[in-house]
Amino acid sequence: MQPEIRHMGDRGLLVELGAGIDPAVNRRVQQLHQILARENLFGVVETVPAYNSLLVVYDPLRAAPEALERQIRGLCHFDDIGHPEQPPGVVEIPVVYGGESGPDLDDVAAFHGLTRGDVVRLHSGTVYRVYMIGFTPGFPYMGELPQALDTPRRETPRTRIPKGSVAIAQRQTGIYPVVSPGGWQIIGRTPVELFDPRQDKPSLLGMGDEVRFIPMTAEEAAQWPG
């Protein structure tokens, strides 16, 4: 598989390994990310994985982009390497759906002609893949949402979305780790801490993790430790 490699200025190579939101493409990105972490190529500062691409950031005074590009192409032999290292098990994330925790749940249900309960069952009845972490520290972009919940973004983004908000947009679902602006439809909230810079592993989730949402009541959330 030959990647498409584009320059991002004099410090980045954007390695594209396919198109679209596709688990097979995303697994290749994850593999190349892991390979580059192992190879520790001279002059590479960091790599940023996304849906279908890996941004390789380099120090232009240490690495020449032409040579780096050749090295990266030489490492893109995914069939020989097998599957990326998988995390153990599915991460379960409890969510209070609807009410003040999920102000858009009723709108989402109405948009699809479903009941609130249908939306909760559909959203919590799927195991999602974490395609990438981005936007803010620890924000997981997960998919793929059931077709029946495919919902456009809000026309006017909110300026202040509460920490822990669980949201959907098109065929994706995500969780806002800190208060931030955002345009996704908010259907619930989790008391789970998604990002803590004081921990050895600051982000609860990483690319390739599998996630399932578990409905909980507001009373249970109030009892949540921490």
């Binding site: 004099d10 980045g12 691409s53 924000f139």
Partner: protein, 320 residues
Amino acid sequence: MARIDVLELLSPGILASLQDTGRLGFGRIGVAPSGAADSYACRVGNLLAGNLENAASIEITLMGFQARFRSEAAFVLTGADLQATLNGQPLHLWTVWRAAPGDVLDLPAPASGCRAYLAVGGGFHCPAVMGSRATNIGSGFGGYEGRALQAGDILQGHDPQDYLHRDGRSLPDTLKAVPTSDGVLRVLPGPQEDQFPVASREQFYETTYTVSGSSDRTGVRLEGPPIAKAPGAPDSILSEGILCGAIQVPGDGKPIILMNETVTGGYRKIAVVIAADLPLLGQVAPGDTVRFRKTVLAEARKLLQGVEAAVDWVRGHFAG
């Protein structure tokens, strides 16, 4: 190292925060580099003061900053000229000064540039979080309690009395980066340049843009004729990793130069500012005009070598 109170904030002005050379290596979990927008000014200020170049400095934005020294200290201001005074006496930039307890430092209003850097000899005390002292204001960690500085904050320093002898040291004029209000930023083609019609690309390089008042540490927003995308192309692309200096064109066609607080983005990048010009990007202020000139990788590399040679010279010349 003994820690003592060195500076009391009287007014932060528009925005003041502790920053260093940034937090690298955590893009995979969505953590942006943060750090000084003008890394050259931040690094050189610390070296003049006798610190390591990645010590924490206060990044001061545009106007209204005031602070009182609580101890004797050597200090340096670099970057933007915000018409700084100590007890009303004008201060040269890129020069080590000596303050006494009770002295009041004022940075009232910009003469040129956008961000000034205040370094003190011995450095401001600030625990590193994920390997850096830079403030990530959006997620609330690093720097001073994870937030922008406020009136009443008291910053501690490490043994500032040991650095007082550096008073009077000054940078040669040729190494002072002078921010202009009519900047030309040198760029390389962006990863999606080929997705813009030829006329749109030509327009991008011919336009003199005005920097919008809604620009901040996240991005420099530009006002000018909107850039048309290819007919039928969707507004956005799949999110991908981005770098400081990437120039994205959202649906309204008005370019935004992304800065150090963003790690992924979902718009097409028409061009990317070269590494050597990022310090200048950090000095672009609302109301300034900006033009873009296309360069090539070889020239970008030579220009960056020049920047690093200047920092090397400062490191060697002002050591000890």
